[in-house]
Amino acid sequence: MPLTVVERWGVMMGMDVMPPLEPAGISRVRVGTSGYSYPEWVNAGFYPAGTRSGRMLPLYAQQFSAAELNYTWYQMPKAVAIDRMRRQVPPHFRFAVKLTRTMTHEVDRDQWRGQVARYRDGVAPLALAGQLAAVLLQLPASFERTRPRRHYLAALLEELAGLPLAVEFRHVSWATDRVFAELENRRVALVAVDAPALPYLFPPLEVVTSPDLFYVRFHGRNLAGWRSGNMQQQFDYAYGAAELQEWAETRIAAMAGRSRRGLVFFNNHVRAQAPANARQLMAMLAHQGLPEDASWSDTSSTST
């Protein structure tokens, strides 16, 4: 029987790590948001009035079973802080942790391997606890498919091997079968993206490259905002029911059939549109037999 991602990580680290068994009835697709600590979500009513940032994660974990950590793109994760976060959520909660910019956007030829080592140390508490669902490598729109970049990406994936990896391309040049085949070969998930339809952006494909994981990110379809350079405009979008329905019924359903676990995150965080859309999608997935457990305290009630 092939080893799971966490088992392989454990073997690689020379540790006897067994992945914790998921309680019966918990679905394989987890839906959440990209980041959870937004003060504006208090005003938008997602968090109760007066919620301080330090209290947001436990409240978030009452509603969602996974979160994508975005701050790690800005700052290298530190084991102490990550462990503190881990202890704020139930054991069934999972984290997808974005790779730090020093390995994706601001790469120093001589330093990046050291950065990978630091990153591994930072996320180790999650990996050890079996709560690291994915490491997200988000590559910039300027990261076009060229020979040196292909080599760099291969070396980076090699260096990160053993961790559950997902790669998000922004540039369209990576949308080729050869790339997908290589990712499949490495059992690395290709991130399916929903973003504005711009010719240079990676298209929304439901290609599954890893039997262990599929990964979807919803960035919103605000075309004007995407070009503005202002994050608040870029991710200001509310998905309509029809748009989500299309993803739930066709794409996510298809991907779920080809991979054992799935992660879906909404990045349209402005005015707390992301958690609202995430809840909508969860309801749709539950309706079609892919339930998402929002409340881990009562797992039996959510199994359908």
């Binding site: 600590s37 504006e40 701050y71 800005y74 202002n230 608040q232």
Partner: protein, 390 residues
């Protein structure tokens, strides 16, 4: 509301500015020191020079011995000022609350409550850093923290160009391992005192109660108690809003070393500052004297005035003692600067004892008479003998 304060810190600012203008200076040791001065000292240096043992205030000759291939550049204060203004301009779109340091590459930006407009504070910090790099060729370190104190400690820890995020509620925990000399607000004499008790890190001091601190530190214990826990309520001031103060300065035609000459010049500065204060019906609660020596080194000291005063004689008495605290070296002085701040309305409390009250009254009358004469006949119509030496 939780505050989000960004601190931008360009390490070795003077060198960084010079390097941004001249790429050849990169990756080689650079020292900033006054030109053509026999006993010049180091004003700023690059990391390479620092690694070789060069320190601020070190004699230039010694610096050159330690680091023979060093490139020596004269200070260009106007350049630093210009780059500082450019840094402020870059931050302006994000917040009206921007507090720059004095041409030292430090900048606080309070982005509290702006996330609906500009996104998470950490993203704003990263953008500021990126702009500094793309537009000014500077690579500052940055930090986001709930207040100025913690943000400043954070950038000091990640020097020269790292980044740090400290979340609300994590301030005290963040400071636990930090050496006390890196914590702003802990002065040299506090450090010496704390060192005497073998207290070297913020966490060690934070483990003491207010009462325990009060025994050796008196009233200062309250300040120390807060500082080591990362408590700082000071606001980031709006751009261009400096705390109210009166500043006067004098540059000697020839660098001065004679005490009467320097004191005479200081008295002249006191008179000017006093006049400004009295015209606004204000009194100064503190005076600060800065002396720039001919070798480029600077000395600065300050002292509180109790009670606050605008009387030339009372101001001078304190200013003179502060001058001699700042002027501990046997080196000529090029430039003298007097700053009066903590401005308040003059205290209404009169002296209790008749003799003191009488002296006080006479001094006030004398200064008022001088003011009246000068108003009528011009500033130079009457002079205090002491100022003739300057």
């Amino acid at each position: 509301m939780e505050r989000h304060v960004i601190h931008i810190n360009v390490a070795d600012f003077a060198v960084a500015v010079e390097r941004a203008m001249d790429r050849r200076l990169r990756e080689r040791p650079v020292v900033i020191a006054p030109d053509g001065v026999s006993r010049a000292v180091v004003y700023d240096m690059s990391e390479e020079a620092y690694q070789a043992g060069v320190r601020k205030g070190m004699a230039l000759r010694r610096a050159v011995r330690l680091c023979p291939d060093v490139r020596i550049l004269p200070p260009h204060p106007s350049r630093y000022e210009q780059v500082m203004q450019a840094l402020v301009r870059q931050a302006l779109p994000y917040s009206p609350l921007i507090e720059p340091g004095e041409a030292d590459g430090h900048l606080f930006v309070d982005v509290t409550g702006t996330s609906r407009l500009f996104g998470p504070p950490v993203d704003v910090a990263w953008r500021l850093r990126r702009q500094a790099w793309t537009e000014l060729s500077l690579a500052p370190g940055w930090a986001v923290a709930p207040n100025k104190l913690v943000a400043k400690v954070a950038t000091r820890l990640v020097k020269p160009d790292g980044d740090a995020i400290v979340r609300a509620g994590d301030e005290a925990r963040f400071l636990v391992p930090v050496p006390l000399h890196l914590v702003p607000g802990i002065e040299h004499r506090d450090l010496v005192r704390l060192g005497g008790f073998n207290l070297r890190r913020a966490g060690q001091v934070a483990s003491l109660s207010r009462d325990a601190l009060q025994a050796p530190f008196g009233r200062r214990a309250f300040h120390l108690f807060d500082v080591v826990r990362g408590i700082d309520r000071s606001p980031v001031r709006p751009v261009g809003h400096q705390p109210p103060r009166v500043v006067t300065a004098h540059t000697f035609e020839e660098d001065a070393h004679a005490v009467p000459v320097v004191e005479g010049a200081l008295y002249g500065l006191v008179e000017k500052a006093g006049q400004v204060l009295r015209r606004q019906s204000l009194a100064a609660g503190r005076v600060m004297v800065t002396v720039d020596f001919s070798d480029g080194l600077r000395g600065a000291r300050q002292r509180s005035l109790r009670p606050a005063t605008a009387n030339d004689m009372a101001l001078f008495e304190t200013a003179r003692s502060v001058l001699h605290m700042a002027w501990r070296r046997r080196v000529r002085i090029r430039h003298l600067r007097l700053m009066c701040d903590r401005l308040t309305f003059p205290p209404a409390q009169r002296e209790l004892f008749p003799s003191a009250a009488d002296a006080d009254r006479r001094q006030t009358c004398l200064v008022s008479a001088l003011d009246r004469i000068r108003q009528r006949f011009g500033t130079d119509a009457i002079k205090v003998g002491r100022t003739l030496a300057a």
